[in-house]
Symmetry: C2
Subunit: 243 residues, 2 copies
Amino acid sequence: MQFVSERRLDDHVVERAFTLGEVPGILWTPGDPADPAPLILLGHPGGLRAMYPRLLARARHALAAGFAAATIELPGGGDRPRSAAAEEARTDLHRALAAGEPVDDGTVDRLVLPLVDQAVPEWRAALDALLAVPEVGGPVGLAGGVISIGVRLAVVEPRIRAAVLFAGSHVPRSVLEEARQVTIPLHVLLQWDDEGNDRQVALELFDAFGSREKTLHANTGGHTGVPHFEGDAANWFFARHLR
Amino acid sequence: MQFVSERRLDDHVVERAFTLGEVPGILWTPGDPADPAPLILLGHPGGLRAMYPRLLARARHALAAGFAAATIELPGGGDRPRSAAAEEARTDLHRALAAGEPVDDGTVDRLVLPLVDQAVPEWRAALDALLAVPEVGGPVGLAGGVISIGVRLAVVEPRIRAAVLFAGSHVPRSVLEEARQVTIPLHVLLQWDDEGNDRQVALELFDAFGSREKTLHANTGGHTGVPHFEGDAANWFFARHLR
């Protein structure tokens, strides 16, 4: 991991941009670190630059509760090379949504599964590097982002001890099966009136998770309308499981 | 309202038993009251004596967050006279559940609707009396109990500004319609693996509520397995809306 910039945003937050091979990322740590802080990995839909204001707000919120926070760019996001197959699947998805047609399983699989296969090893490599930073400690929490990536990470990465997942994207049938293998505590957000998301599939996914402790927080409103107080609820969840 | 006993449980809690006509009730107020505390009405399935330990725990939790708490006995609960029609409907319900048969709408209506019709005016009369106690102030929150009573109270009683409802009992179809008229902020608890409750009806009910702010908290576990941390979540919800 190469740090490419470091700046102190205020007394409370130090922000460092880094690269891990070809993958850019950002690490936020407390301005006045005492013990190493448990790390929250911030998921997102891809495109760090466009997502930056929201990611920074989420990072500040996590740091205010005593955590460190970090994220990396997704395959095909930002300036990272796009895959022709993924772009084609995305076009098909948008075409179906615009026409009000159901999105077929094949399209979702072509879009999501290669992304999961490529992203998950990158996030695990990022964890190796991030946990070597003196201000960062374990255990690790995962918050948000593409839910299929979150499911795979929750299954394969034992350093992730708890996850806040957003049931808000298209979910391949195979991920519903994979969800049965998840056993860490989960806090699942669902936007009840999400325009682009099938509520029934989201509820099926919640049902499928194998975790003994899982909580669904469903709120009125569309895809981007998660209420502000859910940020606090996520911090309380992580505080219960990462301390 | 006649107070029939008063005792200081510790430095933090004063418990007073009262009667309101034929209806017994309990009021818990802070041991060292400053300003009048916003009131949380504690719902329950009937039978104050059997429910007392759990009600006291909930009252203590509410008082710790700066609220007062109160409850009254339900029609047919505890020593209050039973209605023959309600007892017959309850027998039919238990027979159907024991046989693993679906409970027909008529049975649910016969059991629940007369209870709602009788209980709601009693809870409103209790509010009149409770809000005249110097240590008790408005606004009022409603927490738990028979959900059909909660729905009716949320519709007809303007002093109730926010409600935590437990989607855990049999719900008449007419209550699903009544739910559309509810507009106060709601926090709805659902036990995902509730043996005696139809999950699909509970989700329909959540969907039906007319409130702009409504949040569903669904947790793994059976009817009585609501996780301890949901007590804190309910307090945070009330703190947002009753202060």
